[in-house]
Symmetry: C2
Subunit: 191 residues, 2 copies
Amino acid sequence: MNELAARRRLDPDARRTEILDAALRIYAERPYADVSTTDLAREAGVARALLNHYFGTKRALYLEALRELLTIPEQAAADLPGRGREERAAAAVEWFLDSVEDRRTLWLSVGLGLSGDAEIDAVVEDADETAVDRVLTALELDPGDEPLRARVRAFFGMVRAASREWLVRGSLDRPAVRKLLTTTLVTILED
Amino acid sequence: MNELAARRRLDPDARRTEILDAALRIYAERPYADVSTTDLAREAGVARALLNHYFGTKRALYLEALRELLTIPEQAAADLPGRGREERAAAAVEWFLDSVEDRRTLWLSVGLGLSGDAEIDAVVEDADETAVDRVLTALELDPGDEPLRARVRAFFGMVRAASREWLVRGSLDRPAVRKLLTTTLVTILED
DNA sequence: GCCGCTTGTTGGCAGCGTGTCAACAGTCGC
DNA sequence: GCGACTGTTGACACGCTGCCAACAAGCGGC
């Protein structure tokens, strides 16, 4: 880290954020395994050792970035338009598609689904749990109904795969995805 | 590799298979990142360099193992019982659940979904493509209908997530998964 | 039965990546 | 200006992967 920038001393929180942002930028383009701590440090404009100082471990930094990425903006989702359950479901799907379209690169970079790695999966599952709450609340259903929650989590599996069909393969356009997800969501909510 | 076993010279195919089997055994229990070539070599009872000789790269060996694992037994799926589309769909789901229950450990070890790694994803997608063919053929639908294929691939996303709910979380029992998947499959086939 | 050749198999080397630690140097209070 | 606190760094130790030259098991020729 003696390239051009002089050594500057920052507030820990600011530095932490800088590093985390750099990591998000990198992981948006390359998978975890392809990124070295040297890459991360260079992107953040900082010595490699500083990553360890702030996050302990390369993996921990990644998990932090992942958590950040998966945290859905709090607002929205609360007041959806539409009266009937079906209309509200459609609105929820629409809202979701908007937010995915925004974060397209990042969303896809995560890889869509469970990784088989316990810690990573825990982060993803955490985010899913929150999303389930949002969905059920928005649709005025009981967030305490465990089998129902399970069905919604299963539905998220389809949501991820469908996003991929839409954004990566281009095999479905947005209206098609919208219809597929809405119909499915309504279906699984019944029983 | 000078522990107990003497140096034995095998037919290349036999040795290759031995190594691949060892890899499958290991990856059934531990994620890719946690396994070193030393571990793989020890499990296979072979020098580390031999892995490179046969597979070139640790990653290539993994991909080979993954491909092996995801290859669905050819038979079955062909002649499903049931007359109507709905009955046949139910039978297909049932058959799938059987095969997952069999390979439980291995199936779950893969991690369920896309990894974000291009090569790994390619293997998974290949397997999915074959599975789509099987399903559509079994249900007497047109395997050439691309949007339909896309919907089925999206459905597989739910299949994976639902398997997880069933086998890992225990939040759904087999009949519930069966019903969820069957209903959903029938729904997405329409439109 | 011995010899030599083919080639399956191995140990060791070179390079790279991660985590740690003692030392360096901004910045703030005096 | 001066010292001290602490953010920041370079260098080191260790582990892991891919490569290569050397070793030796098994087979055919004599």
